[in-house]
Amino acid sequence: MDTNKIIVKEVSGTVLPLKGNDIDTDRIIPARFLRSITFEGLGEQVFCDERFDQAGNPLDHPFNHESYRGAKILVVNQNFGCGSSREHAPQAIMRFGIEAIIGESFAEIFAGNCTSLGIPVLTASIAEIEALQAHAQENPSEEFVVDISHPHITYGARTIALQINDAAKQALLNGTWDSLETLLQERQNIAATAAKLPYISSFPYPQSTG
């Protein structure tokens, strides 16, 4: 999987509005689906306990609505993705087909995980998010365009300015959101930093432990 150097400048598609504050990662992907050594299959399991009843029958949930099928932009409210560090959460959302997330605010680890996967996470004010969600509800087949370099979203004649973390923006636009290559270029500095850490150079872990 060489995902490096894929530049993310723009995402266009329909919008899936998902309302609610503090939607945590246990709701996004319940822990029992983490019992796997790959990320495969997570796309079908996203929000499983809210989308299906105990017998597996679909419930009324935005991720089940026919009208939002194929949506690429998820619009959420406050503190989305709080809870665990599980990358399974953004993986599940991404594998469901979402390519960008816009919300009022996000939990930090979740937002960082999204950037690592090349998913832009952008924010707007409460009023703007609510207007966006309402518009998408009424016009589920309308195309929206999210621009990353001058962060904004356009739909019809309307444009809403968005905010994005600067470092995340640079990483997406430069195609360096998969940070590993960049980090590995600093091998000499890594060794030099390690060598000056007292707990490595002057009182390391005893050899015989374990």
Binding site: I37, D178, L183, T209
Partner: protein
């Protein structure tokens, strides 16, 4: 003007500036467990990379292990078996020390690090787990990461990160009997909110923190993430030094003295500056209990539940959702609410002092016949020590089940789960919908002693009345 511990540790570990806001940071200790690592090891294989600092990497298995008949392989759950096999193979192939089942050091990753002296002040510590903040109790900068970052640390021992702001949380006063570290952190989260810490590292300080044991400090730092803060820490002091002396991974002799000097120098001092300060007094603090679906929805046990229309506008929607899920009514008391399950354990409250507190409450008493009680030690070492003290007998005589070490019903990735709409009094850290394994299951977070009190009376009770 002087730096605080957070910034001192950061500067010491900075490898390079990646952009105006992004630094490359060396990670002094990488802890690995079976849930968030298999895809990361696989990515290394695909890119033909090795683990750069295997001696700074330690793995264990905790989330998926059964707590009954733990050593019988293969596990009944074939998916759990596959995950255990994967971390066994990965740690062997990549040369990483692994505390597997059968090792006397196996246990919840955030309990294993501290109790072995692996976690030390002034380190940067990362783990694919949000409760890595626990290790901050030692004055380390410790935080949770996702699987792509686990891959980055394995391959480069570094991460691309933005520096956080630091909020000093100064806690004054002293605890009354029946009030524990868990109550302090639940109160802080209730006050500052579940988003209050976003963008911040929390430095816990003040007389009330200084008087806490290391294990109590771990409980507080553990739940920083529930308040939105990815990092929480306490400056190293004599309590820290005394705790670390003589642990298996602690330095010895002259090396220990050098370490102490470094630990003392790295701590914040009176001249340290902060981005924000929050002060808070615990003289009147009582036992806290959560009633909703976020750890911020907590009240003092004698209080009544909030009236939705009286809460702030941003809280209303979640409050409504919480009432819907929990089945409680606005304005009611939690005291006397019958519970079905009592769970003692987790990286928040699964250490020996937690088990001792529970034993002190339940000794010579019986839990209600309507309650299923589970005591799950956080590690093999905690288990061994508890048995040496005879706590296991106190628990089983009281009607609790005494289990093997692991995460267990904290997130129910193993066979320990709630069923249906069961209500669980839990010493863990998250009351999210579905967290304990049943989509409609319900969780009330509280201190271990409060869980014990609830187990004895079969309903939410005030532990102060029985100790």
């Amino acid at each position: 003007m002087s730096n605080n511990l957070f910034n001192r540790v950061w500067d010491l570990h900075k490898v390079s500036s990646l952009s105006e806001t992004m630094d490359q940071l060396f990670i002094g200790l990488h802890l690995v467990h079976e849930v968030t690592s298999p895809q990361a090891f696989q990515a290394l294989r695909e890119r033909n990379l090795s683990v750069l600092y295997p001696e700074r990497t330690i793995a264990t298995v905790d989330h998926i292990v059964p707590t009954q008949d733990q050593r019988i392989r293969p596990f009944a759950d074939s998916m759990a078996e596959q995950m255990l096999a994967a971390i066994e193979i990965n740690s062997q192939e990549f040369g990483v020390q692994f505390f597997g089942l059968g090792s006397e050091s196996q246990g919840i990753v955030h309990i294993v690090g501290p109790e072995n002296g692996i976690t030390q002040p002034g380190m940067t510590i990362a783990c694919g787990d949000s409760h890595t903040s626990t290790h901050g109790a030692f004055g380390a900068i410790a935080f949770g990461i996702g699987t792509s970052q686990v891959r980055d640390v394995l391959a480069s021992q570094t991460l691309a990160l933005e520096r956080l702001k630091v909020r000093k949380i100064e806690v004054s006063g002293s605890r009354s009997s029946g009030v524990y570290a868990k109550d302090i952190i639940l109160k802080i989260i209730a006050e500052l909110g579940v988003m209050g810490g976003i963008g911040y590292a929390y430095e816990y300080t003040g007389e009330a923190i200084a008087s806490l044991s290391m294990e109590e400090r771990m409980t507080i730092c553990n739940m920083s993430i529930e308040g939105g803060a990815r990092i929480g820490y306490v400056n190293p002091d004599q309590t820290t030094i005394d705790y670390l002396r003589g642990r298996p991974f602690s330095p010895e002799g002259a090396a220990f003295d050098k370490a102490v000097k470094f630990w003392q120098d790295i701590a914040s001092d009176e001249r340290s500056t902060y981005d924000d300060i929050y002060q808070f007094d615990i003289n009147s603090l009582g036992p806290m209990v959560t009633w909703g679906i976020t750890p911020g929805q907590a009240i003092s046990v004698e209080d009544t539940l909030p009236i939705v229309s009286e809460t702030s506008e941003s809280e209303r929607e979640v409050a409504k959702k919480a009432y819907e899920h929990m089945g409680f009514s606005e304005g009611q008391k939690l005291l006397g609410t019958p519970i079905d399950v009592a769970f003692i354990g987790s990286c928040t409250n699964g250490r020996i002092s937690d088990l001792q507190e529970v034993a002190d409450v339940v000794k010579g008493r019986k839990i209600a016949s309507t309650v299923t009680g589970l005591v799950v030690p956080g590690s093999q070492k905690v288990k061994k020590e508890a048995e040496a003290r005879g706590l296991d007998r106190i628990f089983t005589e009281a009607g609790f089940q005494w289990r093997d070490a692991g995460c267990s019903m904290c997130l129910a990735m193993n066979p320990d789960k709630l069923t249906g709409r069961q209500l669980c009094a839990s010493s863990s850290n998250r009351n999210f919908i579905g967290r304990q394994g049943a989509p409609k299951g319900r969780t009330l977070l509280m201190s271990p002693a409060m869980v014990a009190a609830a187990a004895l009376s079969g309903a939410i009770a005030d532990v102060r009345e029985i100790i």
